[in-house]
């Protein structure tokens, strides 16, 4: 090949890659622009803070927003402690033997299992097996044995658990062995090493991983389709403690959720075309919510990377 | 903070200076014993040689160890290699002092051949050469070193002159022969001592300036 030809190739292919990248960015922008321009019109305080009315063709989406936040919080509470401690145990305490390898591989792979499979498991195990089972034992009909926020959150927690474990493990493993060795050499015990050396170093990695997994969970629809989401629920999943009148979230109640709301409105609502603005409005809120999480993770990462340099 | 490297070099230097001073003393004593016909002093000189020899071995070992352990370069390297040669020279000077002393012992038994005039003069010059070469080494003084090897020809000339003079003595009276021959050998030893001082002075120039002046004639000027 002549040198001239080689140079033309060089320019051409670099340009090609660049244009692909910009195409993808353009798509992203197009999506955002579309959602914002179509959705921004319906956004106002009453949209955000009112319940839907008129068979969901009017009114706000407050229950969905509330439900999304509730379920995300519940998921965090369920998933993060277990996930992080499991990761710490696996990397720092468990031996690097064959069983350990198998467990690690399984967890890794579970992170890639489709979310609908988790939904399936959620229905089969949490709602039908566990819930119904508890009901049977307690002798109460249909308290646990029906879709509920608790089961939806558990399913989501299970979905993000491998993600949290994997990212935490990665963060822990990125702490150089030599630092651990140094701490041991100063006479530190295992937990002192983890506490004083490994965790501070891995903190940012763990946190970003956690945020990303939360954002993943918050945007998921499939796992909660049958484990707790309600098509329409004019009230909030809140339960007031008698006598003291303190409202608390009722994890055994069903709930509305943003992504599910979009799905329903777009595919199964009575008048799909008429509710388009509401659909876009809801979409905008959902995107804003997840982007906020993602963005914070990204900023976090950049900040920590800069600081650790 | 002084580096351990320099500390070690310092020790070596101190040992060299000590050896040099021992040699200086030995030569001075040998000459003194000759002039003062003091056979006891001469014997002391002979005895002291053992220490000089031991010190030579010690310094040699230090040099080799230093080369092995410290990998000196440039001026440090020149210092070490020159030290090896300088001890060699010093040791020879010590031996020559002993040789002088050994001849003094029989000489001092016999009556004096003649009043010694030239030999003490030659001895003094030689001694200052020794002293100066050592001072030049201690102070890295190339000027002084240069002056040492410039004096060498004086000593050579005196050696010749004394040689001829002593020949005359011998011819005058065969009874003088033994003593004169001893004296001839003593002047020759002094001449050798001056030569060795010259060598040391040359090494000093080499250490400091990295210039080899040996075998070059001594007419080298400052460049």
């Amino acid at each position: 090949m002549t040198v001239g030809k080689r140079k033309i190739f060089n320019t051409f292919f670099q340009g090609l890659c660049r244009s692909m990248a910009f195409l993808v960015i353009a798509i992203l922008i197009a999506i955002l622009v579309k959602v914002v321009t179509n959705g921004v019109g319906v956004i106002n305080l009453s949209f955000l803070f009112k319940a839907p009315t008129e068979g969901m063709t009017e009114g706000g989406i407050f229950p969905a927003i509330f439900g999304t936040i509730c379920i995300t919080l519940l998921m965090i509470i369920l998933a993060i402690p277990v996930g992080v401690s499991a990761a710490i145990y696996l990397t720092e305490y468990a031996g690097k033997n064959f069983l350990g390898k198998i467990i690690r591989a399984s967890i890794n792979n579970l992170a890639g299992v489709p979310s609908i499979v988790f939904g399936l498991f959620g229905v089969g195990f949490f709602v039908l097996f566990l819930g119904r089972g508890m009901d049977k034992i307690l002798g109460i009909p249909l308290l646990f044995g029906q879709p509920a926020m608790l089961w939806a959150a558990s399913t989501l927690a299970l979905l993000v658990l491998p993600v949290i474990i994997v990212s935490t493990e990665e963060a822990l493993n990125s702490v150089p062995v030599s630092l651990r060795e140094s701490a041991f050499a100063l006479g530190a015990t295992k937990w002192q090493v983890v506490r004083n050396v490994v965790l501070p170093q891995a903190r940012s990695g763990i946190l970003t991983g956690a945020i990303l997994s939360i954002s993943r969970g918050a945007g998921e629809t499939a796992p909660i389709l049958f484990t707790g989401c309600a098509y329409f629920l004019p009230r909030l999943p809140v339960f007031t403690i008698p006598y003291v009148h303190i409202p608390v979230i009722n994890p055994l109640d069903q709930f509305m959720e943003l992504s599910y709301h979009i799905f329903i409105m777009a595919t199964q609502s009575t008048n799909v075309a008429a509710t388009r603005p509401i659909q876009y409005g809801t979409t905008l809120v959902l995107i804003a919510l997840t982007f906020l999480l993602n963005l914070s993770a990204i900023i976090f990462r950049i900040y920590f990377r800069k600081r650790s340099r | 903070m002084e580096r351990h490297f320099d500390q070690q070099l310092g020790t070596l230097r101190k040992n060299l200076i000590q050896m040099a001073s021992m040699i200086e003393t030995a030569i001075a004593n040998a000459v003194k014993s000759l002039i003062e016909r003091d056979s006891d002093l001469a014997r002391l000189v002979v005895q002291s040689d053992e220490q000089v020899d031991a010190l030579e071995l010690e310094i040699d070992k230090q040099c080799v160890d230093f080369l092995a352990l410290r990998q000196p370069l440039a001026i440090d390297l020149r210092f070490i290699t020159s030290s090896i040669k300088i001890t060699n020279n010093l040791e020879r000077m010590g031996d020559l002092a002993v040789n002088i002393a050994e001849r003094v012992i029989p000489l001092s038994q016999e009556p004096q051949l003649k009043p010694l005039i030239d030999i003490p003069r030659m001895a003094t010059i030689t001694q200052t050469m020794v002293k100066d070469s050592i001072d030049a080494f201690v102070n890295r003084d190339t000027e002084l070193a240069r002056s040492v090897y410039q004096r060498d020809s004086t000593v050579d000339a005196m050696n010749d002159q004394i040689f001829r003079e002593l020949l005359t003595y011998m011819m005058q009276d065969p009874a003088n022969i033994t003593r004169a021959v001893h004296l001839i050998l003593i002047t020759r030893h002094l001449e050798r001592i001056a030569d060795h001082s010259t060598n040391i002075a040359e090494e000093v120039v080499y250490i400091v300036k990295a210039k080899v002046v040996k075998h070059r004639g001594y007419n080298l000027e400052e460049p």
Binding site: Q14, L23, L286 | S48, K61, I134
Partner: protein, 350 residues
């Protein structure tokens, strides 16, 4: 200079100077540091041991809980799935004999679980899944790898700072949003462009799914290429290669396992994607090779039908079987990808 001839007290020893520790200097305050430390530790050594023990057990419990749940998924899914084989004849998962319009008995692959004699052929679902996943993988491989190369090799640091998070943001868009946009907008564009019979079809789904997996492929490719040591690039330039030659002949081959893995993982994601395909592919369980026809994927089937099935019935179990199959396929794909990546790590000595 006057030296004493007798005072030659040099050491003739070749042994290093021996000293004992200068313990005077070790003193510190009123006691030695070591004493201080030992004392201090004595005071709380038992507390420390207990703490150590409890924490280890707690972490162990966390680890076990995670492992337990993960094991449960395997077991439960397959347990329910296997039940299907007892309720339905295994051959029926491929197809059943039915009477066609001319009353001929033909062997047909149909998924019609509702009704008297449910038909449980998984074939149309598999076809549907792959009809979405394959085009999606192809499209996103091209774009994703291109983006990855651009990010890792071509973009300047400043541009990268912006483009990489942007692409990651794309990955952060909930799939339901993309599904929604496919359903409302993209489907129309595609129909207008290709004049398809079905407005919602596999191709629309594939395009939607691509948007989800392009960032996955781009990001992993980027990571893989950036893991290629800079020295290899320098070596290549040093031999006179142009930038593209360096990328194509050195960097990409060195990171090829990572790129391959990213594609495989992307394909896994494509097969497992639910909301987009539910909303954009039309959900008709057809046996077809046409990407412009409506299809019903495995995921969509579960999503659409699970809500209304009685527990323990044949359809319930069949859905679990489909779920298990999906699980199995993605699991294998992930495993392969992981093997490839770990092999690359070894290869590049990372």
């Amino acid at each position: 200079m006057n030296y004493d001839l007798q005072s030659s007290n040099f050491r003739a020893s070749n042994v290093p100077n021996s000293t004992s520790p200068e313990s005077g200097l070790k003193r510190f305050g009123d006691k030695r540091i070591s004493d201080l430390l030992v004392e201090s530790r004595q005071a709380n050594v038992n507390r420390q041991r207990i703490q150590e023990f409890i924490i280890e057990k707690l972490l162990f419990a966390g680890g076990m809980a995670a492992i337990l749940f993960i094991a449960l998924i395997f077991i439960f899914l397959f347990k329910e799935g296997v039940k299907a084989f007892f309720l339905i004849k295994p051959i029926e998962f491929i197809g059943t004999h039915i009477l066609d319009f001319d009353d001929n008995r033909v062997f047909a692959c149909m998924w019609q679980p509702v009704g008297e004699s449910g038909k449980y052929s998984i074939v149309p679902l598999l076809i549907g899944s792959f009809l979405v996943a394959l085009p999606a993988t192809v499209i996103s491989t091209i774009l994703g790898v291109g983006c990855g190369i651009y990010l890792a090799e071509i973009a300047s640091a400043k541009v990268r700072e912006i483009v990489k998070p942007a692409i990651e943001l794309l990955a952060g868009i909930p799939t339901v949003v993309i599904g929604f946009l496919c359903l409302t907008l993209l489907a129309t564009y595609v129909q207008n462009a290709f004049h398809t019979t079905f407005r919602l079809n596999a191709f629309v789904g594939a395009l939607g799914v691509s948007l989800v997996i392009i960032p996955v492929i781009a990001s992993i490719t980027d990571d893989a290429l950036r893991a290629v040591p800079n020295e290899l690039r320098e070596a290549s330039y040093g031999l006179g290669a142009t930038k593209w030659e360096t990328i194509w002949k050195v960097v990409v081959p060195a990171g090829i396992s990572g790129v391959t893995a990213s594609i495989i993982l992307g394909m896994g994601r494509a097969l497992g994607e639910t909301m987009i395909v539910v909303m954009a592919t039309g959900n008709a369980a057809l046996v077809t090779g046409n990407v412009f026809s409506s299809v019903r994927t495995m995921t969509a089937t579960i999503a659409a039908e699970l809500g209304a099935v009685p527990q323990g019935g044949p359809q319930y179990c069949a859905l679990f079987l489909v779920g298990s199959l999906l699980f199995f396929i993605t699991f294998v794909l992930n495993l392969v990808a992981e093997l490839i990546i770990s092999r690359m790590r070894k290869k590049l000595r990372l």
